[in-house]
């Protein structure tokens, strides 16, 4: 598995897309920091980028890589290699190279800006950690979609739909249900509904740092406990880890049974 991981990783590292992705983040970081000249504002903008763009790129890239390396996969399958190690190796290759582009691309300008001396270092590292989590999650989801669909067009369609649903539609439905059932106690419901969407989950995790003062404005005891103590941080991080583990488990099961 490690060999395949290494192969996929270096294959991607040499590819044009990784550079484009890396340069995009580098440019974004530079523009945000040196034209804006304000760290707090940069971190807020960065949060929007991370919770919207990172899942999108993760999904598209994951699906694309799976389809484009299909022939190579078939070649590997003919060899005496474990199936799970082929696919997981590929998955981790993609996910790691994407995460690395993200971390280095955004990290470099911030390091030059002097993030280590700034108080925003924790906010910033939290941003990078959630970004990495989101890459891992959405690449895995993309692999599942690609594994389930032989048809490339269908696969891409579902992948885009998945992103659109998680990033926009889910929140719309969420908001509508909150307003519709406003006469009922909703704290538990809203916290649980957040857990079921990794994008919302990462957003809340970052909000705990950025907008804690607004979040504490609500009277509900459940909210207070979740946001006011480190409980929120622990549960959200745990749920994100679960969001990585479960899709990987599904990939594992799928490739075992799949007929090529």
């Amino acid at each position: 598995m490690l060999k395949i991981l290494k192969y996929s990783f270096f294959d991607l590292m040499r590819s044009r897309w990784s550079y484009v992705y890396f340069l995009f983040y580098l440019l974004l970081g530079v523009v945000l920091l040196f034209l804006n000249n304000d760290l707090s504002k940069a971190v807020i903008t960065l949060m929007n980028v991370i919770i919207i763009l990172v899942p999108l790129i993760g999904t598209i890239f994951g699906v694309m890589y799976y389809y484009s390396s299909r022939e190579f996969t078939e070649l590997l399958l003919a060899q005496p290699v474990k199936r799970s190690s082929i696919f997981l190796g590929q998955y981790f290759g993609v996910a790691l190279s994407l995460s690395l582009s993200l971390i280095i691309g955004l990290g470099l300008p911030f390091v030059f800006y002097g993030i280590f001396k700034s108080a925003a270092i924790w906010d910033f590292s939290l941003l990078l950690i959630t970004g990495t989590f989101l890459t891992l999650i959405f690449t895995a989801l993309a692999f599942i979609i690609a594994l389930a669909n032989e048809n490339k067009i269908k696969g891409f369609g579902y992948a885009i739909l998945l992103w659109l649903f998680m990033a926009v539609i889910y929140d719309g439905l969420f908001l509508m249900s909150l307003i519709y059932f406003e006469n009922y106690p909703l704290d538990k419901f809203s916290l649980i509904a957040t857990m079921f969407n990794p994008i919302d989950l990462s957003r809340v995790l970052i909000l705990l740092k950025l907008d804690i003062s607004a979040l504490l404005g609500y009277t509900g005891a459940v909210f207070q406990k979740f946001f006011g103590t480190s409980l929120g941080l622990i549960i959200s991080t745990g749920m994100l880890a679960l969001w990585v583990a479960i899709p990987i488990g599904i990939i594992y099961r799928m490739v075992k049974r799949k007929d090529f």
């Binding site: 807020i44 929140d171 969420f174 909150l178 607004a214 504490l216 909210f223």
Partner: protein, 414 residues
């Protein structure tokens, strides 16, 4: 010649005054072993020096003009038996005492130092610890309360008192005090022409500063931080609040500053940082908010209704989750020439003023007012989309509420 005679008269008066009072000393080996005894024996205008040591005394009643000075931090321990010093005379000075263990009662407001119907008092450099009420001024005028340290151990609102309380007072200066962990740091009721400056009132159970029915008062250079519910000012007129810092007042019922029925006042050069609500305004009219900084608050300004002719000019609104929130569609307040960090407009003519007006009230703040749980969707892409559509054509938020001249750079106030 006439001038000279005046001068002589004044000189004689001064000399007689200084030779008038005698010095009394209180210590273990002095003629006076207790403060109560010294106070009883002293003649008006005497000075009592209290030497180092611990004195177990309470109910010390001062009924003549005296000066009591503590040397090397003498401690008066009230052993939780009741009130400690009561002043019922004009021209009393108390300086440099440490007073501990004031009695707690549910029927009487015991205080460490109480001033009743007196004038020209001076309370300074006192240290009050383990107290019920700290300094309690009652119908007393023209006095000063300076540089005292008051540290309480309040746990419950019903069994704790206020740090400095003024009731029916006039023309009192409260300056340089440090107040911590009491119920209300400074509490004013029916007190006019009070100057409150350079105090630090933090970690109090309820309010850092609380006043009711007190007019023509001035608050300058104070710090109010980490209080249970921030600062509450109610039912007062002609208040000046300047250069104060309100920070880290967190919680569901917590504000940097709560204004209720405050009219004709000035709120300038203050800084509001990391509060759940920066300023909560209710039923306040003709208040000018200028040169204030609102930074990292949940809500910078929350307007609850019945607020007319207020003016917000030249303030900085920096990285607040919500800049302004309204709960109705009616607006009679003016927002002009502020800096908003959330402003996304442009400035083609390069005059430093944005070319398109800024709308500080977001649709989402309206939604959160209605259904508070929706706060969990803050900064979601979907919310940004509906906020944008509301910005283009306001339906739920007041359509005349806009800053016509939003600035492009933060204002440096001086």
């Amino acid at each position: 010649m006439k001038h000279l005679s005046y001068f002589l008269v004044i000189l004689i008066l001064l000399l007689s005054n200084s030779s008038f009072g005698n010095d009394l000393e209180v210590c273990k080996s002095c003629p006076y072993k207790s403060i109560t005894e010294a106070v009883e024996k002293a003649a008006p205008f005497d000075t009592i020096y209290v030497k180092e040591g611990t004195y177990y005394e309470f109910n010390i009643e001062i009924t003549k003009a005296l000066t009591i000075i503590g040397e090397n931090n003498p401690v008066i321990d009230g052993q939780n038996k009741g009130e400690i010093i009561t002043i019922q005379a004009d021209n009393v000075t108390i300086d440099g005492l440490t007073i501990v263990n004031v009695g707690t009662s549910y029927t009487t407001d015991y205080a460490a130092v109480r001033v009743v119907k007196s004038e020209n008092f001076l309370l300074q450099n006192l240290k009050l610890k383990r107290l019920f009420f700290g300094i309690y001024l009652e119908k007393s005028n023209n006095g000063k309360v300076l540089n005292n340290t008051i540290i309480g151990d309040a746990v419950q609102e019903y069994s704790s008192g206020n740090g400095i309380q003024l009731w029916h007072c006039r023309n009192v200066e409260v300056r340089g005090n440090k107040i911590k962990k009491v119920r209300d740091g400074i509490y004013l009721e029916f007190s006019d022409e009070i100057i409150i400056s350079e105090n630090n009132s933090s970690e109090n159970l309820r309010y850092g500063l609380h006043f009711m029915f007190s007019n023509h008062d001035t608050y300058i250079n104070n710090i109010f931080a980490n209080n249970g519910a921030g600062v509450a000012v109610m039912f007062s007129k002609f208040i000046i609040m300047k250069n104060n810092t309100f920070k880290k007042n967190w919680g569901s019922a917590s504000f940097g500053l709560l204004l209720k029925e405050i009219n004709d006042s000035e709120i300038t050069h203050n800084s509001f940082e990391e509060n759940t609500v920066g300023i909560n305004v209710e039923g306040s009219n003709r208040v000018n908010y200028t040169h204030n900084d609102f930074k990292n608050n949940g809500w910078a300004v929350k307007v609850r209704g019945a607020c007319y002719y207020n003016v917000f000019e030249k303030n900085n609104f920096l990285y607040n989750s919500f800049d302004v929130s309204y709960n109705s569609r009616i607006n009679d307040n003016k927002f002009d020439g502020n800096y908003w960090s959330n402003y996304t407009g442009y400035d083609l003519d390069k005059n430093g003023i944005g070319d398109i007006p800024y709308r500080p009230v977001k649709l989402f703040s309206f939604i959160v007012n209605r259904t508070p749980e929706t706060i969990i969707l803050l900064r979601s892409l979907f919310i940004d989309i509906i906020d944008f559509s509301e910005k283009v054509s306001p339906v739920f938020t007041p359509d005349n509420l806009l800053d016509e001249n939003p600035l492009l750079k933060p204002i440096s106030h001086d």
